[in-house]
């Protein structure tokens, strides 16, 4: 049996366990912080009472039962779709527009104050307006998310387009590249890291935007869940919904990082801690 194991089939239990331990070990810092935070959380709930702060264990049980009944997943997927659709509707044009405006300095100058205004406007204050315009359905949430995401990605992409080394463009021109070739093969790949910076910052905001819009007026979604449960003085229930929001943010952030890592393999590791791997 031992020889069979060392032969290394894909489903050899001992080997997997070893890998799992190793993985656990490499994340020991994360686990320690998590345990500390849970301890503080639990301490607070002991101190202030379960009525005000639900215990971590109570939240975990409710989370599990919510998942089993499908209620939590239904609301979460609603919020998730709002965020993702809004993210695409706001993010894609925002990543394209700076390229179109690159050779239009006058138009850029005209648009700039409005872009800054849109970027700085308080999104929470806009939510009621969007609900007025688009109703309490999914449309108003998508609109708010798209509006939030658009400006973040726009400015990040614009930075990428502007900070590209003009010497690389000159090099390509001397080699015979046309204007459109330069845009596609020099400006665009040079700006991709910045676009992803925008995506990475905008992703949690898109979830947050969807939740905020639901808080104000909705009949579904995690924001609605939070609103409803806080009205019923169900603190633990609110914590469950918040935990679900955090999990979604965590997953989407992981997806963006994964795609970025795949697309930007050419980049030198940006921080020293990454080099030890």
């Amino acid at each position: 049996m031992a020889t069979l194991k060392s032969a290394g089939g894909p489903s050899v239990g001992v080997f997997d366990a070893g890998r799992f331990t190793a993985k656990l070990y490499s994340h020991r810092d994360h686990i320690l912080v998590l345990i500390a935070l849970l301890a503080i959380w639990h301490g607070l709930s002991l101190l202030l009472g379960v009525y005000w702060v639900g215990t971590p264990w109570g939240v975990a049980v409710r989370l599990y039962s919510g998942l089993l009944s499908g209620e939590l997943l239904r609301h979460a997927s609603y919020t998730f779709s709002e965020a993702m659709i809004g993210f695409v509707i706001g993010g894609i044009p925002a990543a394209i527009l700076p390229f179109l405006l690159r050779r239009q300095p006058i138009l850029t100058a005209i648009l700039d104050p409005f872009m800054v205004g849109g970027y700085g406007s308080p999104k929470l204050a806009l939510a009621p307006l969007f609900i007025l315009w688009f109703g309490i359905g999914i449309e108003s949430k998508i609109a708010l998310v798209a509006f939030t995401v658009f400006f973040i990605v726009y400015f990040a992409t614009q930075t990428g387009v502007r900070t590209l080394d003009p010497k690389l463009v000159q090099m390509a021109q001397v080699a015979g590249a046309s204007e459109s070739y330069v845009a596609r093969h020099i400006i665009f790949p040079g700006a991709v890291p910045h676009i992803f910076t925008g995506f990475r910052i905008a992703m949690p905001y898109s979830i947050g935007g969807a939740v905020v819009a639901e808080l104000i007026s909705a009949n579904r979604g995690l924001g609605y869940m939070i609103q409803l449960r806080s009205m019923n003085f169900d603190t633990t229930g609110v914590f469950v919904a918040l935990t679900a929001v955090c999990i979604i943010v965590f997953i989407t952030n992981w997806i963006v990082n994964f795609v970025e890592k795949r697309l930007l393999r050419w980049r030198p590791p940006s921080d020293v801690t990454a080099q030890k791997e």
């Binding site: 080394d165 010497k167 690389l168 000159q170 090099m171 390509a172 021109q173 001397v174 080699a175 015979g176 590249a177 070739y181 093969h185 020099i186 790949p189 040079g190 991709v192 930007l264 050419w266 980049r267 030198p268």
Partner: protein, 263 residues
Amino acid sequence: MSVLLEVRDLAKRFATRAGREPSPWIIQGLSFSVNEGEFLTIIGPSGGGKTTLLNMIAQIDAASGGEIRFQSQLAPINDMKSLKPGLNCQIGYVTQEDNLLPWRTCLENVLFPLLVQGKLNDETRARAQTLIRAVGLAGWEDHYPHELSGGMRKRTSLIRTLVYDPPVILMDEPFGALDAQTRLQLQDDLMRLWNLGKKTIVFVTHDISEAIALGDRTLVLTRQPSSVAGEHRITIPRPRDIRGILTHPEFIELYQRIRAQVQ
């Protein structure tokens, strides 16, 4: 030998910023010509407008006055918009910085001009491979620029220009930032490659020894506003031994004459 490139009475000053004194002349009254197949080295004090001169010849910057003639074409004067960078791939330019595209590997960077010009085929690919081997980059083709040493990046940028075989190549202190040993090696490489193809090269440097060792002719430029201070024909026979040339009697004599002219 026919004149390929001619610069006559060239003048350059950068645009004056609002509310400032008019900017000084960088170049004034600069005239010289380059013959076909010639290796011309240009030497001058730093900040003397050498890079600006090459930028104007490569048409990524416009002259303020005078003439730049390549074959029979005149470069536009004072008109940034009608510049034709690289003159339809007839002028190659190895800049001071390597300017490699960080998202392309060594090989992809070398192939970049061929890809742009639609000349990427089996024959040109083989040529690229030959060049990569000739400068000792074999085995590094799949590495990204940040994974290469300074010397390797320099070599990559050098053969990126050689690979599409432009009739004229401009070089702007390409070996300036390298250590002495790597520089000697690269000068050697460049000499070998040049002996193979006999391109027309305009090579700018601030190193007198380099100017003599590589060139057929050396121009010495004055301080700003720069013009030609002197011209020296270098008759040291080729092929030259870059390492041994320092003790050649003609070298020593040329060195002293040029030294006296460089301010």
